[in-house]
């Protein structure tokens, strides 16, 4: 597998999925490259592009909720943070992703 060609395919696919939900790729290109690298490696290992920052539990129902882009499963939480957990995607109005901390759903009173 060519990692770069797979990353390009994921960029194309993810963009079409996240934009209608009001998200875009983070403007932090270094972070995006690293995360896409990890996702391609996770896909090679598990057959699925899991989130690099959430645990695979070997529980199909829960694991399906961390398949990238996992925004639909965590919509309230990610909308409140204006980013997804790993930061690959941010709200479309975000220009400074460093200003958006990871805040747990529990701390935000969600779930």
């Amino acid at each position: 597998m060519n990692i770069e060609s797979r990353k390009n395919a994921l960029r194309h696919f993810f963009r079409k999925v996240v934009e209608p939900m009001g998200f875009k790729f983070t403007p932090d290109t270094e972070l995006a490259e690293f995360l896409l690298d990890q996702e391609v490696k996770l896909e090679a290992k598990h057959g699925i592009c899991f989130c690099p920052c959430q645990p695979i539990r070997r529980d199909r129902t829960r694991d399906m909720q961390i398949v990238c882009p996992c925004i639909p499963f965590h919509r309230k939480h990610y909308d409140a943070m204006k980013r997804c957990w790993c930061g690959l995607f941010v709200h479309q109005d975000v220009t400074d992703p460093d200003s958006l901390p990871q805040v747990s759903a529990k701390e935000l009173g969600i779930e």
């Binding site: 959430q54 645990p55 957990w85 930061g87 901390p101 990871q102 747990s104």
Partner: protein, 81 residues
Amino acid sequence: MQRVSMYTLSTCPWCKKTKKFFTDRGIPFDFTDTDLADEATQDQIMRELDAMGAHGFPFVRIGDQVVEGYRPDVYAKLLGI
């Protein structure tokens, strides 16, 4: 100094930043890269996360407090630095 330990993932950039935060300040910490651990250890970590209502990594324990996510401001406050 309070004891610091953390559960992390080898694939997670925020986990790397968290380790760097403590390393840069000379604060010792224990960590487990969950994805590299054996299945029994992974299961035990998942039970701990579930008990705390946590979902994502890094999962940091400072003394008896836990912090989910890369939160340098919160780490500093809990450590009093």
